[in-house]
């Protein structure tokens, strides 16, 4: 049974068309993934370039979040006489949820807008068409490389953010009172389980994949003109951030199912 599309509101229709476009784009990525030439040097270049650009922002955000969580949780934990549990609570929250999601959101903003604007401007200035007519494969060179690079870099940035956030938490613990570094590490890491770390890392790969795929899609389908470039960059950030939350929700449900 088919539904008449003209019965749908324009916004719903646009959303569905966009989703179909991204799905097709993902299909094209997997088809092109196996097709030579393999631009390995470009993958490393983008991994370094995009990762390095986000390093400072991810680090600062991780440090602040680690400190803020510790400072805000402390009074409540003190009320229950459970201050010694604070490092464990902070580390579980950061490694399971806050680290991966926050890093992904920063990458969606920073990397997503960069990719959307780069590819969008290449599209509107006919550089992508120039690659196409020269018989090269612009998809492999521009999209496959960036998707692979970001899929690799987001989990690495997440681990980096987690470590910095734990340092932030340690610093905040020592603002009021004195905790040795060894005790802090023992308490925070000792309470972590395999099931806390692995699902978080796996979902980071999916976050990276979604951010890069959505951003490349927006750039590749940019309209003609400079306003199209701005729109591509902006939409890349908005849609990839939305994808991060949707993937996170799915990941939590799947993890719960597997654990239980």
């Amino acid at each position: 049974m088919y539904m008449r599309t003209d019965a749908l509101p324009a916004s719903v229709k646009d959303f569905l068309v966009g989703l179909a476009g991204i799905t097709q784009f993902a299909g094209k990525f997997f088809r092109n993934f196996w097709r030579p030439p393999f631009e390995i040097r470009e993958v490393f270049y983008h991994a370094y370039s995009l990762g390095q650009k986000s390093l400072l922002l991810v680090g600062i955000t991780g440090l602040i979040i680690g400190m803020v969580m510790t400072i805000q949780m402390r009074p409540t934990m003190e009320q229950f006489g459970a201050t010694s549990w604070l490092p464990a609570m902070v580390s579980i929250s950061i490694i399971r949820e806050i680290g991966p999601v926050l890093t992904a959101l920063i990458c969606a903003g920073k990397i997503g807008s960069t990719i959307g604007a780069e590819l969008g401007s290449m599209k509107v200035t006919e550089q992508i068409d120039a690659m196409t007519v020269s018989g090269t494969n612009p998809f492999n060179y521009l999209v496959t490389t960036r998707v692979l690079a970001v899929t690799i870099m987001v989990p690495l940035l997440t681990i980096y953010a987690d470590i910095i956030a734990l340092f932030g938490s340690y610093a905040a613990m020592n603002l009021e009172g004195s905790v040795s570094f060894k005790l802090f590490i023992d308490q925070s890491l000792g309470s972590l389980l395999f099931s806390d770390m692995v699902p978080a890392l796996i979902k980071s790969f999916f976050f990276g994949f979604a951010i890069a795929l959505v951003s490349c899609h927006q750039g590749f389908t940019a309209d003609r003109g400079t306003s199209g470039v701005g729109k591509a960059a902006n939409t890349a950030v908005v849609i990839s951030s939305l994808f991060v939350f949707v993937i996170d929700l799915l990941a939590v449900q799947i993890t719960q199912l597997i654990i239980s």
Partner: protein
């Protein structure tokens, strides 16, 4: 003489707007055909359909004995496109790469890519051909409009194409540079013995480069002839191109 390009009944619409209306034309091997017409008449759409940057609605395109519209997308289409060069209106140089990298890019990505020494030789050869041997390490942003067009031409020619398409090669250039680019196109055609199809509304470019001219009107070919034949035609619409050739039509 064989026909290197043959277009039959090519149509293309965008929604309700009919851009190409069953257009037919041909270009003989080694010939330069200029397609003239006002802005927005569908000249660029025509060559983009011929190289499958746009998919036409109907018609047939035969280039170098290949039925272009029936070539499967993917490796086969890429293989065909390597025999064809395309100069974009904007030049479309890759702005994150140096001139040398721009020129090497298509060569390095062929399935049967030449040896490094051959790549270096061909880069130097095409740059010398367009008179810009000393620009290898420059970025596109450091080049003038005319230099960008020359490098874009060099990038197309480095693949040694049998057929060249030019989309408004002199648009946006001053009259002196326009003439230089037109003369360069003619020189390159003689040097590489390519068949060429040039889209333009610049009569000076048409005078310098064309063996034959076709004029487009309302999505169809309206008139055909040599530069001199058209110049002597009394039709006011044709004469408008000659009387005010430097003005944006």
């Amino acid at each position: 003489m064989n026909r290197a390009i043959e277009v039959r009944d090519l149509s293309k619409s965008f929604g309700e707007k009919h851009i190409l209306n069953r257009i037919s034309l041909h270009v003989q091997e080694g010939e330069t055909l200029v397609v003239l017409g006002r802005s927005g008449v569908g000249k660029s759409v025509l060559i983009k359909c011929m190289i499958r940057l746009l998919e036409p609605d109907n018609g047939e395109v035969n280039i170098l004995n290949e039925d272009v519209l029936k070539i499967p997308d993917g490796r086969d289409l890429d293989k065909f496109r390597r025999k064809v060069g395309f100069l974009f209106q904007s030049g479309a140089l890759y702005d994150s790469m140096t001139v040398r990298e721009n020129l090497r890019f298509p060569l390095e990505r062929q399935p049967d890519a030449p040896e490094e020494e051959e790549i270096v030789r061909r880069v130097e050869d095409v740059l010398e051909g367009v008179g810009l041997s000393d620009t290898q390490e420059k970025m596109p942003a450091e080049l003038s409009g005319g230099m960008k067009k020359r490098i874009a031409l060099a990038r197309s020619l480095i693949m040694q194409p049998e057929v060249m398409f030019y989309d408004e090669p002199t648009t946006g250039l001053d009259p002196i540079t326009s003439t230089e680019i037109s003369e360069l196109i003619r020189e390159m055609k003689e040097r590489y013995e390519t068949t060429s199809l040039i889209i333009t509304h610049d009569m000076e470019c048409a005078r310098i480069t064309a063996d034959r001219i076709v004029m487009m009107k309302e999505g169809r070919i309206a008139v055909e002839g040599t530069y001199n034949e058209l110049k002597e035609n009394d039709d006011p619409w044709i004469q408008a191109f000659f009387s005010d050739s430097k003005k944006e039509l």
